[in-house]
């Protein structure tokens, strides 16, 4: 696992050497705060929980995660460092996992840094901290899925802009697919079973389930399998690149 570790450390360091990490952290923390207090009616609801905070996370990730993942492979392809990396003694999987975990740990750090809002809600009332912990976990799993999607689509192209747009597009589809408006739109034309199946693909549905504090194996599996699936696709894309 040394190569995974080496790639992970290099990636993480590159976030902090370039302004990417700081820009991300500042924007994430500021937006998460503003959205919770203004759009989420944190005070007006009169409830001691972090629901208005977590409900914004999918939308924050939608913009910010592609910004982290777009450079993952596209930059290496364009800069020629892909040739250097792939001729070092490591497998494609190790390279992919190193990069994936670097980004996932980084988002984890961003989540940890939102702790003032947790202190605030504990100061104001007595929330169910178990539910909050579960919500954090759900949010982190969702971020991991977004990252896996971004990692895969970044391997598809040498253009970071294209990688960003494709990732955001796929992510917004996965968020919206379970929404009642979308399902109603298709309910007339598609069979009931298919609509149910599609609804289960919705990221929002699984995230909200976990955020209620219910850790169902099916929701956890949804996120874990999504991550594995997108990472496998990314590795296959990279392998295809070597053959084309």
């Amino acid at each position: 696992m040394t190569p995974v570790n080496a790639v992970l450390r290099r990636e993480l360091r590159s976030y902090f050497v370039t302004p990417v990490a700081y820009v991300f952290l500042v924007i994430f923390l500021v937006l998460a705060g503003i959205l919770t207090f203004y759009a989420g009616d944190f005070y007006e609801r009169g409830q001691a929980d972090l629901q208005p905070f977590f409900v914004m996370h999918p939308w924050l990730y939608l913009i910010l995660v592609p910004a982290i993942t777009m450079r993952m492979w596209a930059e290496e392809t364009k800069g020629g460092t892909l040739e250097l990396l792939l001729t070092l003694p490591l497998t494609l999987w190790q390279a992919m996992l190193g990069k994936f975990f670097a980004a996932w740990l980084f988002i984890g750090l961003a989540l940890v840094l939102t702790f003032p809002i947790w202190i605030t809600v504990n100061y104001l009332g007595s929330p169910d901290n178990g539910v909050i912990l579960a919500s954090y976990l759900g949010s982190w799993l969702m971020a991991g899925t977004f990252i896996a999607i971004g990692a895969c689509l970044s391997a598809l192209t040498r253009s970071q802009v294209v990688a960003f747009i494709l990732t955001a597009l796929v992510c917004v589809l996965l968020i919206l697919v379970g929404q009642p408006q979308v399902l109603d739109f298709f309910s007339g034309t598609l069979p009931r079973k298919l609509i149910n199946a599609v609804a289960h693909l919705s990221m929002l549905r699984h995230f909200e389930a976990i955020a209620r504090g219910v850790l169902d194996v099916r929701d956890l599996l949804y996120f874990l399998l999504s991550m594995v699936g997108w990472l496998v696709a990314g590795v296959l894309l990279l392998d295809l690149k070597r053959m084309r």
Binding site: P3, V17, T18, G79, G80, T81, L86, T87, L88, P89
Partner: protein, 314 residues
């Protein structure tokens, strides 16, 4: 050792490398020579395991690059074309990243790090961002990366491209020192490099192997091989005399500096007869020279498409 067997790579309809079969042994420094776009880099990328061959195989130290890629990559030090490296890292960070990737234990890793830093004289730039380095320094960082694990096989894609004459000299010395018990494959389009470094030359063009010989053997194929050239003022008459020598095939005069080149008939030695004749004529001759042959001429002759050159092998 590097072995390729019918190594082939196609991009769509274009065959970049066409059934390349060659073998480089320890102690050899093989120069892969060819015009731009001949397939040198593509061949190296396949041997390094970056590109998958369309057909055929490549082996590094006996490890098939497709079947045992990690073993092959461990035995190989590779400098890709243009020496790519992570620009936002400092030289120290970059080399330490390579140390970790190569799986060294901290103490041996540190010793290797120190050794290559010293070998490539990188002490003063260790703390600088690679992005801010000159082209020559970046190339040296790339070389440091390639030799860090002291590999038995070294493959360098245009190692001296973009270096100034002093740096070229330093890199060539380094390669010379490393050459003794290693297998080294260098691609280049600089013919002087072949003289300076290689004990074997493979010429490829349009993906095909066209010649495999020592530099001296290639020079022997030159029209200039064995020719005698000299400068002499007022030598109009002597030209006629020289032309009458039985061993002489042709005489050419350089229109710029008036230097005369006398070409021998095949298999004839003409230095002595020419010298004798000139002495008899009482001509004052400056710097008479026996030519070894001109690689650039042989290179052109082999790689230009006139059909006859293609497929001729040494």
């Amino acid at each position: 050792m590097i072995e390729t067997d019918q190594l082939t790579r196609c991009y769509g309809n274009l065959t970049a490398v066409d059934a390349l079969t060659m073998r480089v042994e320890p102690g050899q420094v093989l120069g892969l020579l060819g015009p731009n776009g001949a397939g040198k880099s593509t061949a190296m990328r396949m041997i390094a395991g970056f590109l998958v061959p369309t057909s055929g195989t490549a082996r590094v130290c006996g490890h098939d690059v497709s079947r045992e890629p990690l073993k092959a990559k461990r035995a190989l030090g590779y400098l890709p074309e243009g020496a790519p490296s992570y620009g936002e890292m400092t030289v120290r960070e970059f080399l330490q990243f390579i140390v970790r990737m190569r799986g060294f234990k901290p103490d041996t890793g540190y010793r290797r790090f120190e050794a290559v830093v010293q070998q490539l004289q990188l002490e003063e730039v260790l703390g600088l961002c690679i992005d801010t380095l000159s082209k020559g320094l970046r190339r040296r960082v790339g070389l440091a990366q390639a030799i860090l694990h002291d590999p038995p096989v070294l493959m360098l894609d245009e190692p001296t491209d973009g270096l100034d004459p002093n740096q070229k000299h330093a890199v060539r010395q380094l390669i010379d020192v490393m050459a003794r018990e290693r297998t080294i494959l260098i691609s280049t389009h600089l013919l002087e490099e072949v003289h300076a470094l290689c004990n074997r030359v493979v010429i490829i063009a349009r993906g095909k192997l066209l010649a495999d010989a020592t530099p001296a053997e290639l020079e022997a194929r030159s029209r200039y091989h064995g020719a005698v050239s000299f400068s002499a003022p007022g030598s109009g008459m002597s030209q006629e005399m020289l032309g009458r020598l039985p061993q002489v095939a042709a005489i050419e005069v350089d229109p710029l500096d008036g230097r005369i080149t006398v070409f021998p008939k095949p298999g004839e030695r003409i230095l002595e007869p020419v010298e004798t004749l000139l002495r008899e004529q009482g001509l004052e001759v400056s710097e008479i020279q026996l030519e070894r042959g001109r690689l650039d001429e042989v290179f052109r002759q082999i790689t230009t498409t006139d059909g006859s050159a293609v497929g001729s092998r040494a």
